[in-house]
Symmetry: C2
Subunit: 240 residues, 2 copies
């Protein structure tokens, strides 16, 4: 991305895969959020194993943004900061009720969809990481899996795909009424969901969706936003 | 409710139970929506079997509102109408994004929660109906149950209660951050959810929630809104 003029200059610490793609559903939310606000950013790619050291232990996860003297982690904190720091740019949240509603949508989405996505793609993420990051990724994630290896955790993943596809039902119903989750225009709820699909597309070796899934038009529309921000020849198709 | 002056006069056709309570999660949304806008309404109670005849077949469900020459069914159409017809009253939807986000919340809530609630309380609704409405309620609902009786449909309902309680998880997480689903103030998402709990409370013979459920504070706060709109000595407790 081209740098912006100094006061608007934002540096975004991202997660990088072996193929150079930026992964992480949370980083993607912020990429879309910055684009929504019309802000360019300088990307700083970090591998899984480099994050803690990059911030002297202050932050353990990306996205992290740097803007002037401010350094901030956690995608929700960053999104809220962007609206405060750039009030003359298009708002991510038109008001407190939209903010609360998107947050509720995220709570549902993270519990019902992101968690299931990790269950299907955990080994793919490992395999897509840079070789030097794989041992760290494996160790840190397997600690949370109660002793299961990534291979054991994902062994029956094809059998779990139908439940994941079913979990999208509310999105499909909504998108039969509106072009975007946010209505006639995309909002942060779209960026949350698009970021998750974009993350999967960065690593997937198992197509997430059936070819005729009605989510396709919205995903295409979403990946095309902001000059094709979601497009990248290195990503995999989401469709069988 | 006291009548308002003529231009604001709204008549609300409601569903009435044998104990005189208004049931229907959809009627309750509109009761809360009218209260939110500071509009009084004249309630017109109808039993299950009276609805079709009351509107000459034009509407088959309540709520129906009558305002001047306008008669309108379907709670979403009514809520949107109220913001158009009373623009100087507090808005139900501050803008199109909030509207879309609440609609997405409703899509999730109706599929994941209302459907499960009906599975637990279908026979209780029948038993709470006026005696003359019960045959109609039974016949119309059993048609949708592929031949099962209401008794068969709800026979294992206690075993299904844990899954229903689990379905509230996103609400609990959200309400650990905000006093209302809508954030610092209640919005139409609160009325959708409160309306469902109020409906269950009107008919329940099986407490929906554990005594220490963290939803309790929000339910109490919600039932207290607008001078205790949700309060009624005839309803049952939602808590074990």
């Amino acid at each position: 991305m081209a740098s912006t003029s100094a006061p608007d200059k934002v540096r975004l610490y991202e997660l990088v895969l072996d193929n150079g793609c930026s992964a992480s559903p949370y980083v993607w939310r912020i990429r879309y959020a910055l684009a929504h606000k019309g802000l360019a950013w300088d990307p700083v790619p970090l591998g899984f194993s480099e994050i803690a050291a990059a911030f002297g232990g202050r932050f353990k996860t990306v996205p992290v943004i740097e803007h002037g003297d401010t350094m901030l982690a956690e995608s929700w904190d960053i999104a809220e900061y962007l609206d405060r720091a750039f009030p003359d740019r298009p708002a991510l949240f038109a008001g407190p009720a939209e903010h609360a509603m998107v947050r509720l949508t995220d709570t549902w989405f993270s519990a019902e969809i992101l968690r299931k996505m990790f269950g299907v793609y955990a080994l793919d993420i490992h395999d897509a990481a840079r070789p030097q990051d794989r041992p760290y990724f494996r160790q840190s994630r397997e600690q949370r899996l109660k002793g299961a290896t990534l291979e054991e955790f994902t062994a029956d993943r094809a059998a779990r795909l139908p439940a994941l596809r079913d979990a999208f039902t509310p999105l499909r119903a909504h998108l039969s009424r509106f072009p975007y989750l946010g209505g006639s225009a995309p909002n942060y709820a779209d960026y949350i969901a698009l970021g998750a699909f974009r993350w999967v597309a960065s690593v997937s070796t198992l197509p997430l969706l059936a070819p005729n899934d009605t989510l396709r038009r919205w995903i295409d529309r979403g990946f095309d936003l902001y000059g094709g921000l979601g497009r990248d020849p290195r990503i995999k198709t989401l469709f069988e």
